[in-house]
Symmetry: D2
Subunit: 294 residues, 4 copies
């Protein structure tokens, strides 16, 4: 690509991202004083304004900003103001960030700077599903006193994470049932060798499972259903808020239930950084393609 | 389900369909005099009007009618007029058919009869993709003088058939590259262990493949590209018209290229019949669910 | 089976074993006072001699005895003397144990009691390879900051554990090379989609791997070879003593190297107990089959 | 390798073998006048004695000779006498052949020429199992009116071919039961996600299967058992003589039973030729290694 990137703030994922981008670009990392994880090709840079160059691209973390004013920098402690970034970017520069609020977006767009949210891209979600599925499998292995091989598993939902979970589990020879709303999702489950059941009918089939993975962001496993699952069943909830499990009731009933959020950054920060780098690469490719058209 | 079905015309798939439906319903098969493929539970019925009962459901073949007036009955030879079917259906009966033309639809809807096209359903397409993928793999095995195991394969397109093809091939340990337009499709290809390449850039990577499966219904492999593929490469085109290969040029260049259409009915008529039965079952379930609502 | 079993000592595996056997037999568990893991069907029994029945079968742990005189009982603390067990067994009873020393074997055989070592059985080793492989994969996931998906992996050795490891990893879409001595083992590796390399030639190919699993019980990764592997490579040694890695040198070179022993009992005690139960069941079946013969 | 090879006689496999060897060696092919399958690098040679060079290695077909006197040459018609070959080989040359009879072996060994039977090598059998398994799957697909996906399958025997068959079928999501004699073989079947049943107990479980693959060279499916299998069940016998099926009775009972022999040469001659080339390469490597030792 051979551009000048400023990576501003973020956790280990963004240190890994800086490394990947530095293979083909000049990369300055702001807010990473305390980590040694990055290669020599990345120039750490204490004060944004001290950099000798202006940025073609600025990369903000995920989320881009918690307060709408500054960028969080867990590796240095000194937060960076979003406003200051508008002074270090070239005229036709681009800002990338994850889960960018309208307020943050405005700061840049008001100055004519283009803003892209990499977390909105479909391929970002697809690639991250691998780390989420692996993290879920790792947690199941850690919790179970049995092998995963041979277990009877229920997966609630049939989206990206479910699909990858089915794939990751294929070498473990488990017996998987997928519960979903749409007939086509159940058809896919069967294509991949799973049993399929309408989610409206799960009350009758909840017993007998040894692990339940939930991916649906709605309280599917309420008190009524938690009472129907086996007492030794392990429940792993991968859904974003409000989650799919009534955890309070689960606790009272003695059901082991884990709520695992933001797994990619936790279990595979290096891969997550590469995923962001790939997504940014895709956005830049599409942009130059469309610029080439008359 | 326990309804009265009339299966009117069609090939082996519809004989299989009659068998499946007869497990839980009364089933009359019209236009199947010459085949003995069906179980005793199915009553064959020479003349539509001679049946002692009226139909809850009529099932037409795929396509429902070639001429807009009659139903094709390859197993008896005497075509059945669509108009005659309106007399044997109950007042709130339902007609199912595949690829129903507006003209055929009108014949029934004008009389207040509900019409469903099972071939329009997403789960129908998903389930049929299995037979298509298996048929493609079978053809490749028949054509190749090598094992499939170890082959270098290119799949053009990343839709349903491609996804199932990747899955079916997983036990053969081939080396698969997927060419697709969308970044998210390429991300999926990588999730499933394939290489991914933008379809716009395939000119540069066409050499070295031993089998190419096309699923894109547009002439991807034109003269320019056919000249770039290896001379022993086998090309299997699964795309509907116009197909993805310039077959005339392929012939002149000595490229082995097969165009395989309508595989499910050819390689797996029994499974195809079950797929139609499942799809009809889904439509009837959804209908009774929505009728139950106040 | 409907026999009377005495399970004497052992860890969680033997509590699980007692549970499984209790489904079809009378089971007394000796040395399990402090655990509540067993079902109500198992009768815990403080003093061996207090049991109202004599045993058809006695099951000793793995290893059967550390000192050749007593059985270790981690869940009660009061060790049981092997000699005392000879008084509670029926005349034609059978003793099962794991890794039974000649001295322990003599104690029983001198009194005409038949002794079987379940740990010597091939199916025992095969079934345990699943827990070992899963434990190795779990450890790799815990250690890596990347997903397992996409990693370049070297497996040293081509025995049972390697074969299962390749299978468990199949859903992760890794790139596996197997190093082995025999041509037929390398042929098997290729059948399962791996690269194969003669172990005598690994010096030249050690760089570039991100994870190395060793299964060969000989120091394969000596100083010379440890210097050739990538500095971020994770080494997981699954071989019994002396292990396959020069750990001291690995430590000095900063290579992350884990030596994971006895994984089945640690990561999957319940499955391990079932494996012992299945193996004992096989021995008893074969015994009654051969007794049936004239 | 850079040696001089004479490929004498044989079918398409040996044309492919000549091609592979010609990449790194001088190769003369005797008895291939009528085929154009070979690359320009292979020199076809009408009369053995007319060659300008003497051979380091002579490769005979599989079987090496049907009559003990001549080599069969289906592609030219003029058989070559084994005796004549002793005149074109260098002093320390080597003869390779498949299923070499003692009589043929003597012809060469009496003159001090070393003889190797590549068909005796374990890796040869392992690599050929892939073509056999693929051929069996291809035949099943051709015969069945259903998809392979979802079928209930019985595999008799648990050797190489069974193992590869299970692997090839993994992407089809079938439901496989393996019948075998040894407990360890049944353990392996379960590791790979199959059901396992002792072959002595199959009488009770034969019904319900849709495809049966036999790999055991003994008449397992006799009249009694053929009567117990489903009337639509497809039987594919892969065992060498006497085969595993009473075909006469199968015919009378209307059971579809295919006996598929020598599949590698039929369904994948090119791969089979490479397998022979790889095996010969292994033999030569081992030979030079052992010669290097003091």
């Amino acid at each position: 690509m051979n551009r000048t990137f400023f990576i501003v703030g973020g956790d280990l994922r963004f240190a890994a991202l800086a490394d990947v981008l530095a293979e083909n670009n000049r990369v300055f990392a702001v807010g990473f004083d305390r980590t040694a994880a990055m290669s020599d090709k990345v120039q750490t840079c204490d004060n944004v304004l001290s950099a000798e160059e202006r940025a073609d691209c600025i990369v903000l973390p995920l989320p881009a900003s918690a307060d709408g004013v500054t960028v969080s920098t867990p590796f240095s402690g000194r937060n960076v103001s979003l406003e200051s970034l508008t002074h270090i970017i070239k005229e036709n520069g681009v800002v990338f960030g994850g889960m960018i609020s309208p307020k943050v977006r405005e700061i840049f767009e008001n100055r004519g700077i283009t803003v892209f949210d990499y977390a909105q891209r479909e391929e970002f979600a697809v690639m991250n599903a691998v780390a989420t599925a692996e993290g879920a499998v790792q947690a199941a292995m850690e919790e179970l006193a049995s092998t995963l091989s041979g277990r009877k598993i229920l997966i609630l939902g049939a989206g990206r994470i479910s699909k990858v979970l089915i794939d990751v589990l294929s070498g473990f020879h488990t017996d998987i049932t997928v519960a979903a709303r749409k007939c086509s999702d159940l058809a896919w489950a069967k294509v991949y060798g799973c049993h399929g059941v309408r989610i409206s009918g799960i009350d009758d089939i909840l017993s007998g499972f040894e692990v339940i993975f939930n991916t649906v962001p709605a309280v599917i496993l309420d008190e009524n259903r938690l009472k129907r699952i086996d007492k030794n069943c392990l429940v792993i909830d991968l859904a974003s808020k409000p989650g799919g499990v009534d955890f309070e009731t689960a606790g009272m009933l003695g059901v082991r239930a884990l709520w695992l959020l933001s797994l990619p950054g936790k279990v595979a920060p290096v891969t997550s950084g590469k995923v962001i780098a790939d997504t940014i690469g895709n956005i830049l490719s599409e942009r130059s393609e469309s610029n080439d058209r008359p």
